[in-house]
Amino acid sequence: MGCGGAAGGVASVTVWLEVEGEKRRVELPTEIGGRVECSVDGRPVVADVRVLQAGVMSLLIDGRQYRCVLDGDGVVIGGRRFGFEVTDPRSLQGRRGAGAGTDGPRPVKAPMPGRMVRVLAEVGDEVEEGQALLVIEAMKMQNELKSPKTGRVARIAVAVGDAVGSGDVLVVVE
């Protein structure tokens, strides 16, 4: 997010975002409320902005009304949720390219909070991509967690009965 002078001499803020996988650049005036002149990827947009509650906003653009509700890292508009992330352009190059591919160690993360009910592998086991490694239970439902790649189990961070949080690394396959 940067701050600088925009056209017409009004101070503005630039917000870089990734919305549903697309990079966007939004320019906003520093004073927001009522009628505001913005731009999205350089296209000018005039919006009437009204915050109703914390995280609930009404946008009027060309007469169209949009109820926008903030939901963590997403915004809900018209009953649909759009994920977004504020990105810093200076660190973007570094982030790109990581994560993809099958080389190197790959973690198995908990997709939801829950309790471990079964651990189906041991450290050192050779496993196939898609092979079940763990069973996690929450809300009366059991779910298998599978290996993201063919390789060797390098680490198992949980035991049966452990409570785990969403996103916790449970197993690493290398």
């Binding site: 409320g33 109703l52 509650q53 009404s58």
Partner: protein, 495 residues
């Protein structure tokens, strides 16, 4: 569809439109940019400053918006322009469908004196008295002598109790006539006053009608609205505890005759006074959807706004009289921003806390939210809470349960008043008439059985107070989301 209104009724119409796939255009005043009816509309346009005369009553601006957006119909809600024949005509001239009766029917039935003539022509019983406005005091004295005291003076263009005077003795008539006429002049721009016999302890019972363009008209049962304060309805219910099948049919058929005689189309309500001998007297007709229409919807299973839309599109009514089946009992409480413990002063302002009731048998038509600043420019109604039950008793008890769940913080409301009425023996026995509530309010409020120990109250208050203090110093390390939340509040809910 353009909705030329605000508050719960605008939201209610928007919801109906959404249900039938019709796009909605809201209009708003400066006080209402953050109102719920705007938040739920597909499009929204500003009309003008907060006062209704500069916004919601500006038919010209509203028609401009309709033209600009290509809206082909306007729903007026209730109040504002809903019974304004000139506006209905202006809509017709602009090629926009007005969701309501034709201007001609509105003209006939909208004036109290003209409606009384139409009622006479339709053979409908009405309270004895003058049909037209009284020329002077002398005529008033003559008419009153003919029908006998006590009598009631009423403004021909009136409503809401303005320009009304009860007179029990001939010697008081002259002064009352002058007072009523000048009050009517001030309130409605017309000093025309008429006179009728005062019905003692009358019930206010009204018939809901729905008529199509093809000459078909059905009555959808009655509503009893006898619980009133200063001639304003406070609680409404359907059916009435004193209306049996026979009386319902007689009142319903009389109402239908009146509507058909005036070429009425769409939703309308014929109001009656009913005395303790099951005599009913025509009072007036409301040529629009009414505030209390939900209780009729609950007991008929119908949606009156959906029906309004179909009728306005020229469709025939999808039901005949014998398809109308009443079931159960429904009660509506009009939740107002007013303080029953302090002369019912209005209480606009910020709603800092809103906990709404729900669950079985509860419907809420509400247009406020936590964080909404209730404007001082309009009617103080916040919400209509409706309870349905198999019986009247169950509906009452369910309403009490819902009222106990309800918390509206930051402003004063009349929720406590409803609790008092619904627990009152006379109300529960349906011993009510239009004077019931004023009599109840004149009595001292019997202390409620104390079931919250004083120590618990003190402890709760102390815990809240201590926590507020304790956290003063600890606000710096907030999460991003909390900061956002706080900022929204602190800034009066603006960015």
């Amino acid at each position: 569809m353009l909705i030329a209104n605000r508050g719960e009724i605008a939201l209610r119409v928007i919801r109906a439109c959404r249900e039938v796939g019709v796009a909605t255009v809201a209009v708003y005043s400066d006080a209402d940019r953050g109102a719920l009816h705007v938040l739920h509309a597909d499009e929204a346009y500003r009309l003008g400053p907060a006062p209704a005369a500069e916004s919601y009553l500006r038919g010209d601006l509203i028609l401009d918006v309709a033209r600009r957006t290509g809206a082909d119909a306007i729903h007026p809600g209730y109040g504002f322009l809903s019974e304004n024949a000139e506006f209905a005509e202006a809509c017709a001239a602009a090629g926009v469908t007005f969701i309501g009766p034709p201007a001609s029917a509105m003209r006939v039935l909208g004036s109290k004196t003209r409606a009384r003539q139409a009622a006479d022509a339709a053979g409908m019983p009405r309270v004895p008295g003058s049909v037209t406005g009284l020329a002077d005091v002398a005529e008033a004295v003559r008419v009153a002598a003919g029908i006998g005291y006590p009598v009631m003076l009423k403004a021909a263009a009136g409503g809401g109790g303005k320009g009304m005077r009860a007179v029990s003795r001939a010697e008081d008539l002259a002064a009352a006539f002058t007072a009523a006429s000048s009050e009517a002049e001030r309130s409605f721009g017309s000093g025309e006053v008429y006179l009728e016999k005062l019905v003692e302890r009358p019930r206010h019972i009204e018939i809901q009608l729905m008529a199509d363009e093809h000459g078909s008209c059905v009555y959808l049962g009655e509503r009893e609205c006898s619980v009133q304060r200063r001639h304003q309805k406070v609680i409404e219910e359907a059916p009435s505890a004193v209306v049996g099948e026979d009386l319902r049919q007689r009142m319903g058929e009389a109402a239908v005759r009146l509507a058909l005689s005036a070429g009425y189309v769409n939703a309308g309500t014929v109001e009656f006074l009913v005395d303790d001998k099951e005599n009913f007297y025509f009072l007036e007709m409301n040529t629009r959807l009414q505030v209390e229409h939900p209780v009729t919807e609950m007991v008929t299973g119908l949606d009156l706004v959906h029906l309004q839309l179909r009728v306005a599109m020229g469709e025939p009514l999808p039901l005949t009289q014998k398809d109308v089946r009443l079931r159960g009992h429904a009660i509506e409480c009009r939740i107002y921003a007013e303080d029953p413990e302090n002369h019912f002063f209005p209480s606009p302002g910020l709603i800092t806390r809103l906990i709404q009731p729900s669950g079985p048998g509860i419907r809420e038509d509400c247009a406020v939210y936590e964080g909404w600043n209730v404007p001082l420019d309009y009617d103080p109604m916040l919400s209509k809470l409706v309870a349905f039950g198999e019986t009247r008793e169950q509906a009452i008890d369910r309403m009490l349960r819902a009222l106990d769940e309800y918390v509206i913080g930051g402003i004063k409301t009349n929720i406590g008043l409803f609790r008092r009425i619904l627990m009152d023996e006379d109300f529960r026995a349906a011993r009510i008439d239009t004077g019931y509530l004023e009599r109840l309010l004149a009595e001292p409020d019997a202390p409620v059985e104390e079931d919250v120990p004083e120590d618990v109250v003190a402890l709760a208050a102390a815990l809240f107070a201590a926590s507020a203090r304790r956290e003063t110093a600890a606000v710096a390390d907030l999460s991003e989301e909390s900061r956002w939340a706080v900022a929204g509040r602190r800034e009066g809910l603006r960015l």
